[in-house]
Symmetry: C2
Subunit: 135 residues, 2 copies
DNA sequence: ATAAGAGTGAGTATCATTCTCATTCTGTCG
DNA sequence: CGACAGAATGAGAATGATACTCACTCTTAT
């Protein structure tokens, strides 16, 4: 825990990571691109996605996919997960990660160097439970 | 654990669920559509995706997204997760779910009725660790 | 100065998924 | 039995996020 490969981080990669940290919430590639437009930090969409992929490969960023297919990115240092309604899409963050640094046996890990995980819970929110059979 | 809402299951929905169970592995919407083509159980892509969404809303099916954006579906009864290499994409199943029926406080659940979860680990496989700085 | 290599981004291509909407199926009622 | 309402279906078009191309610009080393 606590990688510090700040070496080898391109300026634009550093920018993207910083934006994600500052935002305090998950952002899509499109979001990041839009946020930087007009600023001296602006960069093309291709560069945004290219660097987001590389940041993931370094374990600095992870992403989850919405049902819409859109991917939301966050710094791995922010170990946050969500509970999402399969009906209305309402989402709420969990206040703690249920697996901390889970105990995966070396056998399960099979030589991999673990970088991060994604964990999402799905269910019906109270509103949609009511609307269950009618509607 | 052990829902039995076999009531309210359309024939084609039942078919899709059965295919997923029989397959023993995750299948994409395209996979399912292709598998059924030519058989008397064939159905259009729109119907496949429509019913997959409804099966998810009933908590019978869950899905995860590959980096490619493709979604893979599985029956929720099969509580299996994966460890994927962020570099080469190689993937291996975990032999057990690290969160079983995790202990989420009612406070965290906030009125939701939990249906299923997705959990994926990412890292570097042994091969790609070697290729680390070169390449 | 020159050259090799890395980084960039506007535009285009891709392709899984969703949307449209005309058609077919199913069950009900007079 | 027709006639009709509503649900289900699927071919084809639309969508939209992401990946790819490739010419151009920087950077760095000789
Ligand atoms: Mn976590
Ligand atoms: Mn599990
Ligand atoms: Zn809801
Ligand atoms: Zn690998």
């Amino acid at each position: 825990m606590g990688e510090q490969p700040s070496i080898e981080l391109l300026p634009k990669q550093h920018q993207l990571l910083e934006q994600l940290v500052l935002a305090g919430q998950e952002l899509s590639g499109q979001d990041l691109h839009a946020r930087l437009r007009g600023t001296p930090l602006a960069m093309g969409l291709a560069t945004v996605y290219r660097h987001l992929r590389q940041l993931q490969q370094q374990g600095l960023v992870r992403c989850r996919h919405l049902p819409s297919g859109e991917a939301l990115f966050a710094p791995t240092e922010r170990d946050e997960h969500h509970l999402t309604c399969v009906d209305c899409g309402r989402t709420q963050p969990l206040t703690a990660c249920p697996i901390h640094d889970a105990h995966l046996s070396p056998e399960q890990i099979g030589g991999f160097q673990l970088l991060f995980h994604t964990l999402e819970f799905f269910g019906l929110c109270s509103d949609c439970q009511g609307r269950q059979d009618q509607d």
